[in-house]
Amino acid sequence: MNELKGRREFMQLLGLGGVVFASGLAGACTNILRKSGEAEDDFFFVQLSDTHWGFKGPPNPEAANTLKQAVQAVNALPIQPDFIVFTGDLTHTTDDEAERNRRMREFKAIVADLKAPVRRYMPGEHDASLDWGKAFQEHFGPTHYSFDHKGIHFAVIDNVSDPGAAIGDAQLDWLLADLKPLRPEAPIVIFTHRPLFDLAPQWDWATKDGSKAIDLLQHYKHVTVFYGHIHQEHHFKTGEIAHHAATSLIFPLPAPLSQPKRAPVPWDPAHPRRGLGFREITVDESRLVLTLKQDALEGTAAAQPAAATGS
């Protein structure tokens, strides 16, 4: 049994644990991208978000272990993903530049234990907004970029290095040029940190010029956006564009505008990892159907207490 067939069988067994969500690139037709006409198999990648390495506080007294538990949980998947993407807030913010760099070094050392061959990074405001992404770029590389993988065009949009939560005209020009060679029916996946649409501006859950990015993306028929920032799953469509927020790996936040303040959901010692988890995204053979599976950190074998390191 090859790994990909095994992956399909694994996906068919879902429903026993995680939540499966069939995503945005619906209306699939086959071979839309493949010039050769040769069959390609499905593949999957994993989204981790908002790990906030360095956070200390009552919303997660186990914060020194949570990222390590997530690494163990991903490594325990029966098949490893093609790549893992971290959609921002890798570290918790600090005014101390030396401490910021230390947190980023520690984060890199922890995720180096991931078995998956490729890791993609982008900043959240906690990583980048106090120094316009300077430390992030030194440790992780560019804050916006694109890449192609097995027939999908992926683009990373930075809406956090500007502390005012803007993408900026220069990056929007880059995005326009990056997308220009693609056909309207090309499958496109966007990674970003903040929601590109106005999910809850009252809670700062928006991107100042996100509508400009959405305007660019609306010229394409099959666009899916994965983001973080709001520490919970959320699914929304602007036109034909699907937007999916991910759970965090530090503490959950309440549903948008469901209470007066966006204070973290209080930690429950009986369920210390409730609301934390990661996401598997499987791309089918047509490259137009994405299947989302939410993996809860709570209850996984890897969620046993890990040895703490000084942090």
Binding site: H92, T93, T94, D95, E125, H126, S129, L130, V160, P163, G164, A165, D198, P201, Q202, W203, D204, A206, K208, K261, R262, A263
Partner: protein, 118 residues
Amino acid sequence: MMRGTHWMLAPSLAVILAAATSDVAAQEKVIAVTAERFKFTPGVIQLKVGEPVVLELTSLDRKHGFQVPDLKIDETIEPGKVTRLRIVPDKAATYDFHCSIFCGSGHEEMAGQIVVSP
């Protein structure tokens, strides 16, 4: 401190913001609002329907933002400058505002409300 006057213009929703002359402003109620990590003072700004008021926004430490999404207001508060907002409330309501320039750990809690009473 530089006393630069910065009159705000914004679309009319429940609160009307409009350009004004300094003569008019001199006769109107002025509320000083300070921003510092990670709070606004006062945190609740009390207004009355039909009573014009000028908010004088200043920062005590670094650059902050003053965003009132429901009123389409999003302004920067620069250290050493005064940002003035003239508001004429036209209905009783409560509007959330928050800092829109990320300013560190605690930024998420830097918020307040404008409460307009009859």
